[in-house]
């Protein structure tokens, strides 16, 4: 698994529940080190073991932990880059939802070795959508729900999200966009990224 996933998960757990919870989680997961590097690659088995470890120590379902993780990587200031890159996907929340079809390809363009499951958006009525996530990474769908929740806030949209279980090895999220312009939303400008200074 790409180190960025493990590293982000580490930051989420240490930041939210404390460093000690993270350290104990790595022990429960049977991993002999504590700190992950974002730009290295780790064994595929580490990630599910870490998730299980955190879930055990916090005594909370893994799905819930992963959903919070998804929200964290979009809304935490340390992860501003993730929020910005997602915001490139669309001018409003519905536009953004449609960009999820290309999310795995976009991510691969940025980081060649980060293979996210494919997600496909299907219209399911007026302002209603089904997001079908390949379940090649266990629990990915729950992370997506957290990401969608945070992105809806970011765009100022009012949405309802519901996990509808698995259909033909695809996990299903039912999305209702109640109101696209419910609140102000957070500011986004194309030229506001850190690269503007880096260049």
């Amino acid at each position: 698994m790409h180190g960025l996933v493990n590293r982000s998960f580490q930051l989420f757990v240490s930041d939210t529940f404390g460093r000690e919870v993270w350290e104990r989680s790595t022990q429960v997961a049977g991993i002999s080190f504590v700190d992950f590097e974002g730009m290295l690659t780790y064994k595929e088995t580490y990630t599910p073991r870490l998730i299980e470890g955190v879930s055990t120590i916090l005594d909370r379902p893994a799905a819930e932990v992963l959903e919070d993780f998804g929200t964290f990587i979009v809304s935490h200031p340390k992860f501003e880059a993730v929020r910005r890159l997602l915001r490139f996907g669309g001018v409003d929340f519905v536009d953004f939802l449609h960009s999820l079809d290309d999310l795995d390809d976009r991510v691969r363009l940025a980081l060649k070795n980060l293979n996210l499951p494919n997600a496909a958006l299907h219209a399911a009525g007026e302002n209603q959508f089904l997001l079908l996530c390949e379940n090649t990474i266990n629990g990915y769908c729950h992370v997506m729900i957290g990401v969608l929740r945070a992105m809806a806030d970011d765009y100022g949209a009012l949405v309802l999200l519901e996990h509808r279980g698995t259909q033909e090895d695809k996990e299903v999220v039912f999305i209702t966009v109640v109101e696209s312009n419910f609140a102000e939303g957070r500011h986004f400008s194309l030229g506001g990224g850190a690269y503007a200074d880096a260049i």
Partner: protein, 337 residues
């Protein structure tokens, strides 16, 4: 084509009349230049043409026909633009120039606060901005990782070349320094120093006392040598000093003498007086000599044993004659190999 359609397909287009006056401007170029600064103005007054170069007036540009243009805004921030000129109606009555930011897109989105809506749906600008931002984030993460790994590598190397008891260089560190000096074709001297009577300290007062004496001697040797010299501990009670930029034998004799005198000063260990001395064998490498490291160390050993045989507590400078006589006391040199 109707202008609304044109505005969607080419939001940075300009329509000019035959004299080069701007008749119509697409919404994005109008946002960049302010509409009043465009419509009714002469194209070449607003834009500075950098390619093709030999264009003096609009007539020249007309005559040049359809081709790639490189331009700059005459007004600040002098944004660079790319363009292409065509005659949409097939004659000279109307000229259309479509513009794009090209590589200046990164600055332009910031300077003019452009949004997705300012680009044609088919324009790759947003993807380009996304990629630049994503790659920059990935690169800076990689860069930080490399910095951390480099720091760790330097620390590990430092450790591998350091004698942990005294903090001096160890044998590996010594070899690195010698090979560097040899590559530079430098003039330098190597002193092989053996402590005399050290075994007695170890035997009577124990290893802790021995270690203390070694640490003290190490500090003293560093104190008695110059900044540019290197002191290494290469064995139990064996030290090597590398002296760079040596001008005369006199300097070598002086430094050797100082080291011996310093080592001979009694060291107090928990109320016990430790008395040791040092024998030194020194090799002076002249520039232009191209010895192997093993030759240098072997010559230094020969000189060291001459000191030991002559009664210890002295320094001997190597000369080839010594080797002949040292062959007579062969067993001793062999012991050290």
């Amino acid at each position: 084509m109707r202008s609304e359609g044109l505005a969607i397909l080419c939001p940075m287009h300009l329509l000019l009349d035959a004299q080069g006056y701007i008749l119509q401007a697409g919404p994005t170029i109008a946002k960049v230049c302010q509409p009043e600064a465009l419509v009714g103005k002469r194209f070449l007054d607003v834009f500075d043409l950098t390619r093709p170069r030999a264009i003096a007036c609009f007539g020249d540009l007309q005559a040049a026909g359809a081709q790639k243009l490189h331009l700059k805004l005459r007004a600040a921030p002098h944004t660079a633009l790319k363009g292409v000129l065509v005659h949409p109606s097939g004659d000279d009555s109307v000229i259309m120039i479509n513009l794009s930011f090209g590589i200046s897109i990164i600055d332009a989105v910031r300077d003019f606060e452009l949004t997705n809506a300012d680009f044609a749906a088919t324009d790759l600008a947003i993807e380009m901005l996304y990629l630049v931002e994503a790659k920059t984030a990935a690169m800076s993460a990689s860069y930080l990782l490399n910095m951390r790994l480099q720091g760790a590598r330097i620390a590990a190397e430092e450790q591998a070349y350091t004698d942990t008891l005294t903090g001096l260089k160890n044998r590996r560190g010594l070899e690195v320094i010698l090979s560097r000096l040899l590559k530079q074709n430098a003039s330098f001297a190597v002193m092989q120093i053996d402590l005399d009577y050290f075994k007695a300290v170890n035997d009577t007062l124990g290893h802790a006392a021995g270690d203390f004496v070694l640490q003290t001697v190490a500090q003293n040797m560093v104190a008695e040598t110059r900044e540019q010299d290197v002191v290494a501990r290469v064995g139990g009670d064996e030290f090597t000093v590398v002296l760079s930029e040596v001008n005369s034998e006199g300097v070598l004799r002086k430094i050797g003498q100082r080291i011996i005198e310093r080592v001979e000063k009694p060291i107090d260990y928990q109320g016990h007086e430790c008395r040791i001395s040092a024998s030194i064998g020194t090799v002076w490498i002249q520039p232009g000599e191209m010895p192997e490291i093993s030759d240098i160390l072997s010559d230094a050993d020969v000189a060291l044993y001459a000191s030991k045989n002559a009664g210890r507590a002295m320094q001997t400078l190597y000369s080839p004659d010594l080797r002949k006589s040292s062959n007579l006391v062969g067993p001793q040199t062999e012991r050290r190999q």
